[in-house]
């Protein structure tokens, strides 16, 4: 798909993204392979070369094909004469391309200049070309597709600041620009930065103090270890992964956005893996093919999930169940919905692990990257045995019960009793309606009573015309349905009876489920290429394979893994290849993402696109060194964290005026990137500071509700008889759980998180936006979430430092900013407090006493208003 926002030249795009000095556009010589073919590929070759039939007989895939004449028009290309070349005329006149974006003026200019200069190409072209996408040498040697190369760690002038090779790679580039690192950040700054980075929570006051006071040489390393071993670490880094996989507690797609009740097991699995430092290679294999590791099929999974040795492997495959899935809901076109699930899973897998926009090749060959449509369907064939759209299993059919046989027997016996109660309720209803009928019928004229009685006793479809007319004449006498409308008291008795059954059912043992991807034994569907992505137009049958451009001896020809259970073994084979250490993308994509979370920007700025339209790495040697180190140290993420956060690159301050001038975007890392708290960290940090945060780990999601004003908040909806929300009830301490545990409902984003750019999973998120908009400011100024927490924090300050306004301000700085305020800071706040207390006192007199609640306390209100300012301030919202 076209990712150009506007008609920029592709070359201009690439040119703009490389660092100064890499290469730039000038009046240099133009060549087909490098300069012209990408334009034709983006705009033309989908019809002129890549489909089975050539539009107008014109093939634009090779330079020499342009020497042919087009049907019915003049020569396509007259070397040296752009004006006489049909290819220029049809593009310039707007005749071509018939569909999609027009070729930009800049690109037309390039084509003309190329023709004028002789229409040259660099290398010999192939003798013959099979129909479809042609992968060139240039495609194969794209940086991201070539093997990871470990270069020598560069030398730097300043060796003092080089703590590990990361610093050498970064500093050598800085020094090329006559820059250096910013000074080391002070201890209070670094402890807040590190704590929020590794755990998503600000440090406790005592933790700051003890770190600042720790004079031992390894004080920083000890801090890193303590944070890495905190359960909050797993929660924080799981959250990053959940973005990439598109975690949600609802199915999306269909309009009712039904709940996905057991997704949380996958969320907890991810948290566990991060906390246990499970090798990422194992983590990936389990997620892609845990069912095959466990040798489970759809039929045996019910047994397998009860086995502790296999349960996590099956939960892990929830990864492939994360995409929106409307196939269990009412949708207009069920086959489209099924194929959409597969397409979305492919999008998740390919962007999460390969950093490629493979999804673009669903309908036609990729316009920019060497991924053909056939490649797309070969890739799809890896997953199709688990997601066969012709023998589909809806979300419910992919849930496997955690009931033991004993629990199941007990539940069944309770169900039998409940059904018996319901049957008796039905009998009651009939008796009541018959009694009503006896009263109603006497209102009819005598002569019509018996015929009416007979008509009523006759089933609807057997009634004669006369009987129907008779009933229509006295519609209210029928009394066959709607007992509630005739006799509310009778209905109440029936409802009570039904209530007994409901109550009984609640005594069943609680039934948990695992949401897993499995295959049906020995049922391997054929995968066909879909013409233009339309499942109703299947073309040639394709076998599973790695993307052509990534094929390597280990994976070519594709061989399924041996799986004793009789499933296809395709995903397991593919997962093993991905984690073999020889796939050029996976490790680079992973370390780039982890780097981005630590440093605020990826070495590749487009973490989900390592292709032609993505950015080039700012530090390619560093990226490869990290990828290599990561793989060699056993895919252990905690090692990588240690390496990154202990570097000088990470530990420098956020201010470096020289670097700012030369490199305002901070691509060279001449200072630590100042950045806003993400949505979850914001909410969690607010709760942590006010002292209300509940740190319980794991379990089913905390329910959310739409309050009467339309905000989505934590709580339970209280409904009136019409089913309308009258109030949102607190969940007690669950109100204060960490944000990762709040229910993620695609159509109901939690207002506080949504306002601060929490992603909506459609289907996943590789990169979070960080906006600065007025709605965030309105929320900070006026939302009850902020007001309540500011008041709680004020209460905490009063309790901890009673009767000492100066001490309270100081304490607030310690808690919120981890900083020591200056005298001037304190004085300003004291002045504010004094004036604000008076202003609020006046205001309170004006508005009078509240009807309920404690009497107004202007000083507390003023202190709360100061806390609110602190919460809303950049000093709190940003990490420096």
């Amino acid at each position: 798909m076209n990712r150009h926002p506007t008609g920029f030249s592709i070359l201009a795009v690439m040119g703009a993204l490389v660092l100064p000095g890499a290469w730039a556009l000038g009046e240099e010589e133009l060549f087909w392979e490098r300069d012209i073919r990408p334009i034709f590929k983006a705009h033309c070759t989908a019809c002129h070369g890549e489909e089975e039939s050539l539009a107008g007989g014109v093939d634009l895939r090779l330079r020499r094909f342009l020497d042919r004449n087009a049907q019915g028009i003049g020569p396509l290309l007259v070397v040296g004469q752009p004006g006489a070349s049909e290819v220029v005329r049809v593009i310039r006149s707007g005749e071509m391309p018939k569909e999609g974006k027009k070729v930009s003026e800049a690109d037309i200019g390039l084509i003309e200049r190329w023709i004028s200069a002789g229409a040259k190409h660099l290398k010999p072209e192939p003798e013959s070309l099979a129909p479809g996408m042609h992968i060139t040498e240039e495609d194969r040697t794209w940086w991201a597709f070539t093997p990871v190369v470990v270069s020598e760690v560069p030398k730097t002038f300043d060796e003092q600041r080089v703590r590990n090779p990361i610093d050498a790679f970064v500093l050598s580039k800085l020094e090329e620009q006559n820059l250096s690192f910013a000074p080391e950040a002070d201890r209070r700054t670094i402890v807040r930065r590190l704590s929020l980075d590794l755990t998503g929570l600000p440090p406790q006051r005592e933790e700051v103090d003890s770190f600042v006071a720790d004079t031992s040489a390894d004080a920083y390393e000890k801090l890193v270890e303590r944070l890495l071993s905190s359960p909050a670490y797993g929660e924080r880094w799981a959250r990053h992964w959940l973005d990439v996989v598109g975690y949600a507690d609802s199915n999306g797609f269909a309009e009712n956005d039904s709940l996905r009740l057991y997704a949380w097991q996958y969320r907890d699995y991810v948290t566990r893996c991060f906390n246990n430092d499970t090798p990422l290679s194992q983590f990936i294999v389990e997620q892609l093919a845990g069912d095959e590791l466990a040798a489970a099929t759809h039929d045996s999974t019910q047994q397998a999930v009860l086995d502790p040795a296999h349960r996590d492997q099956l939960i892990a495959t929830g990864f492939l169940r994360m995409a929106p899935d409307g196939t269990g809901d009412e949708v207009p076109d069920i086959n489209l919905a099924r194929n959409q699930v597969i397409a979305e899973e492919i999008k998740v897998v390919s962007s999460a692990l390969l950093g490629l926009t493979v999804a673009c090749a669903q309908c036609h060959d990729h316009r920019y990257d060497p991924i053909s449509q056939a490649d797309y369907y070969r890739f799809r064939a890896l997953f199709e045995p688990a997601m066969d759209w012709k023998i589909w299993r809806a979300p419910k059919e992919r849930e496997y019960s955690l009931y033991t046989p004993e629990e199941r027997a007990k539940a069944e016996s309770i169900e039998t009793q409940a059904k018996a109660i319901e049957a008796s309720a039905q009998t009651m209803t009939k008796q009541f309606l018959d009694e009503i009928f006896e009263k109603e019928i006497v209102k009819l004229p005598e002569a019509e009573r018996e015929p009416y009685r007979t008509a009523r006793a006759t089933t609807e479809k057997d009634r004669t015309e006369e009987q129907k007319t008779l009933i229509k004449k006295y519609p209210s006498a029928l009394a066959l349905y709607s007992l509630d409308l005739y006799d509310a008291a009778a209905q109440k008795k029936v409802t009570e009876k039904i209530g007994e059954a409901t109550a009984l059912r609640t005594t069943k043992p609680l039934e948990g489920f695992v949401m897993a991807i499995t295959e049906l034994k020995e049922k391997i569907p054929q995968t066909s290429l879909f013409h233009r992505g339309d499942h109703d137009q299947p073309k040639q049958v394709l076998e599973p394979a790695e993307l052509t451009v990534l094929r390597a001896p280990e994976i070519e020809p594709f061989k399924s893994a041996e799986v004793s259970s009789g499933t296809s073994g395709r995903r397991l084979a593919y997962a093993r290849w991905l984690t073999s250490g020889n796939n050029p993308l996976v490790a680079r994509v992973l370390v780039n993402r982890f780097w981005m979370h630590h440093f605020g920007r990826g070495i590749v700025g487009t973490p989900g696109d390592f292709g032609v339209l993505g950015e080039r790495p700012t530090h390619p040697e560093l990226l490869d060194w990290l990828a290599d180190t990561f793989v060699k140290s056993g895919w252990k993420l905690k090692n990588l964290h240690r390496l990154m956060v202990s570097s000088s690159t990470y530990r420098q301050s956020s201010r470096n005026d020289m670097a700012l001038t030369v490199d305002p975007e901070n691509r060279l890392y001449g200072r630590f990137r100042l950045g806003r708290l993400d949505a979850e960290s914001f909410r969690d940090a607010v709760l942590s500071a006010s002292g209300t945060l509940n740190t319980t780990v794991g379990g089913p999601p905390v329910s959310i509700a739409r309050d009467p004003a339309g905000r989505i908040v934590v709580g339970k909806e209280e409904l009136d008889a019409n089913g309308d929300v009258i109030n949102v009830k607190s969940l007690g301490v669950d109100d204060f759980r960490r944000s990762i545990y709040l229910q993620v409902r695609r159509t109901h984003p939690v207002t506080v998180l949504d306002t601060f750019d929490a992603p909506v999973m459609t289907p996943n998120c590789e990169f979070r936006n960080k906006t600065t908009v007025a709605t965030q400011s309105l929320l900070c100024l006026n939302d009850t979430f902020l007001l309540e927490n500011a008041r709680a924090l004020a209460g905490r300050l009063r309790k901890e430092v009673p009767g000492d306004a100066r001490g309270q301000i100081q304490r607030a700085w310690h808690i919120l900013f981890c900083q020591e305020p200056t005298n001037s800071d304190i004085t300003k706040s004291l002045l504010y407090l004094a004036e604000q207390t008076e202003a609020i006192r006046l205001k309170q007199q004006e508005i009078g006493l509240p009807k309920d609640g404690p009497p107004p306390d202007a000083h507390l209100d003023a202190l709360a208003s100061l806390c609110q300012i602190f919460y809303s301030s950049n000093r709190f919202l940003y990490v420096h």
Binding site: N2, K347, S476, A479, F767, V773, S777
Partner: protein, 482 residues
């Protein structure tokens, strides 16, 4: 430039220069003037949507719309659609087929309207005595007597009239207009909804949902009492002087921090965003405050009459919002207060009393300000009622059951004809029989007034091109247009 896929649905509330975060102003400006409708989403991430004004497909008549929505189903044969046959056969057996909703109270007896009709205005349109004020502006409106949706439940009928299809979860009309046209105001939301003091209508938020359109296009609910906008109002003890002090202190606090990090544009942007938030508090407040309206305007709407006060205030606010560039305002009733299954004779006049004067005033006020030509005013519910009675338990208890096969609504301004009646029901006002206007025809026609082609105002949803009329055989009813 290639940008990474952005996943947030946090969009710029009022874009021009207000958001200086990752969204560069330049890219916003580039989007300005882009045709709203066929923006193609990128495959791997949503577009960055905004509320800047967009050009429609062709020259529009209407620029804004006020929808006076009457949930429950106003009784057309008692208000808009006189039927002498009903009077003639009052109390006798209805000769045709009837589809009841409430069987227990169903009756086959014809219920003649208890109210008199008379010709009003120069056009001479027959109107019920329950709508005396509407009669005064009848020469400025088009009355449609042949509406049809064909689904008898409130929910499905509402979804049809508001979202184009009988299913829940689809974007509403206001969301489509905001998506297609953006907002003319840089200080107020594009789509605002004025709720009734007794609460929202049944189906609540479904009335103003963005469905699967980006949340930017969701209706902003204006609460029925002060504070009318959420988070616009400081806590009572902070409002006024204390909050000004608070914002002042926050500014200087932020500036001090910013001075440690010169050149960090995001820090500067956030300082501006607080300024803007502060401005919005006032701007929205000013728009929602009717105290500056002169006595003759208050009187025109009936602001000071206890019976009309609430509705008059909200109609007046609706006009003020439109004047300030808001695209779509919906004024809601509560529950389904027009759903008279019983007690019609006492309940219907009460309903009419509350809305008749304010809604007529809205038309004449917009007209005198020269705004009627560019503003559509719409009055109607999701259904109408049956010609037979319901609840045969004494005349004062009589009501009418649902009818979605033929009902009435009126519309004024924005390119619709004046003093015009369109369509007919059968002689019982049971089914629309002539010039039937299906809900989707109505939508296609409305969009036409806004310069939008209903087949081209599309949004990519689940791989399909989704639209308000959603491929139904909608017809632009050109006969309705001036």
């Amino acid at each position: 430039m290639t940008r990474p896929a952005l996943c947030s649905r946090r969009h710029v509330l009022h874009a021009g220069g207000f958001s200086l975060g990752t969204l560069a102003l330049a890219s916003l400006l580039r989007e300005e003037g882009l045709l709203a409708a066929p923006v193609k989403p990128l495959i791997d991430g949503p577009l960055r949507y905004n509320l800047l004004p967009k050009k429609p497909h062709y020259e529009p008549k209407a620029k804004a719309m006020i929808s006076l929505f009457m949930m429950g189903g106003p009784s057309q044969m008692d208000l808009f659609d006189p039927k002498p046959m009903l009077t003639k056969y009052d109390g006798q057996s209805f000769p045709g087929e009837i589809k009841y909703d409430n069987l227990a109270q169903a009756s086959a007896k014809v219920f003649g309207s208890p109210w008199k009709f008379s010709p009003r205005g120069e056009c001479g349109t027959q109107l019920s005595e329950l709508l005396p004020h509407l009669g005064n502006v009848i020469d400025d409106i088009t009355l449609i007597r042949s509406m049809h949706s064909g689904v008898n439940n409130h929910g499905q009928a509402l979804y049809a009239l508001n979202g184009g299809r009988v299913t829940a979860g689809r974007p509403t009309l206001g969301a489509w207009l905001s998506y297609g046209l953006g907002s003319e105001s840089q200080e107020l939301p594009a789509y605002m909804v004025l709720a009734h003091p007794n609460g929202l209508p049944t189906f609540q938020g479904e009335h103003f949902t963005n469905g699967w359109l980006p949340s930017l296009y969701q209706g902003t609910l204006i609460r029925p009492k002060e504070p009318r906008v959420l988070n616009l109002d400081p806590a009572p003890y902070l409002s006024g002087a204390p909050q000004i002090r608070q914002i002042d202190f926050l500014r200087s606090f932020n500036e001090e921090y910013g001075s440690d990090y010169p050149g960090e544009h995001d820090l500067q942007a956030r300082i501006s965003s607080y300024e803007l938030a502060a401005r919005m508090q006032t701007a929205a407040k000013e728009a929602l405050d009717i105290s500056s309206e002169p006595p003759h305007i208050r009187k025109l709407y009936g602001v000071d009459n206890p019976q009309t006060s609430d509705y008059a205030t909200r109609c007046l606010i609706a006009r003020r919002l439109i004047e300030r560039g808001v695209r779509f305002v919906q004024v809601l009733n509560s529950g389904q207060s027009w759903d008279q299954h019983g007690d019609l004779i006492s309940a219907l006049p009460t309903n009419c009393m509350q809305v008749d004067q304010p809604s007529a005033a809205l038309v004449s006020d917009l007209k005198q300000r020269g705004l009627l030509d560019s503003t559509v005013v719409h009055f109607g519910g999701e259904m109408g009622r049956l010609p037979v009675l319901q609840n045969d338990a004494g005349r004062e208890k009589w009501g009418r059951d649902h009818n979605t096969y033929g009902f009435s609504q009126w519309v004024a301004g924005g390119g619709f004809k004046r003093g015009f009646v369109y369509g007919e029901t059968d002689e019982w006002s049971h089914r629309a029989v002539k010039d039937i206007v299906h809900h989707y025809d109505w939508h296609a026609t409305l969009l036409q007034c806004f310069g939008l082609d209903h087949t081209k105002l599309i949004y990519k949803h689940n791989g399909l091109s989704a639209s308000l009329t959603d491929g139904q055989e909608a017809r632009v009813v050109t006969e309705l247009l001036a």
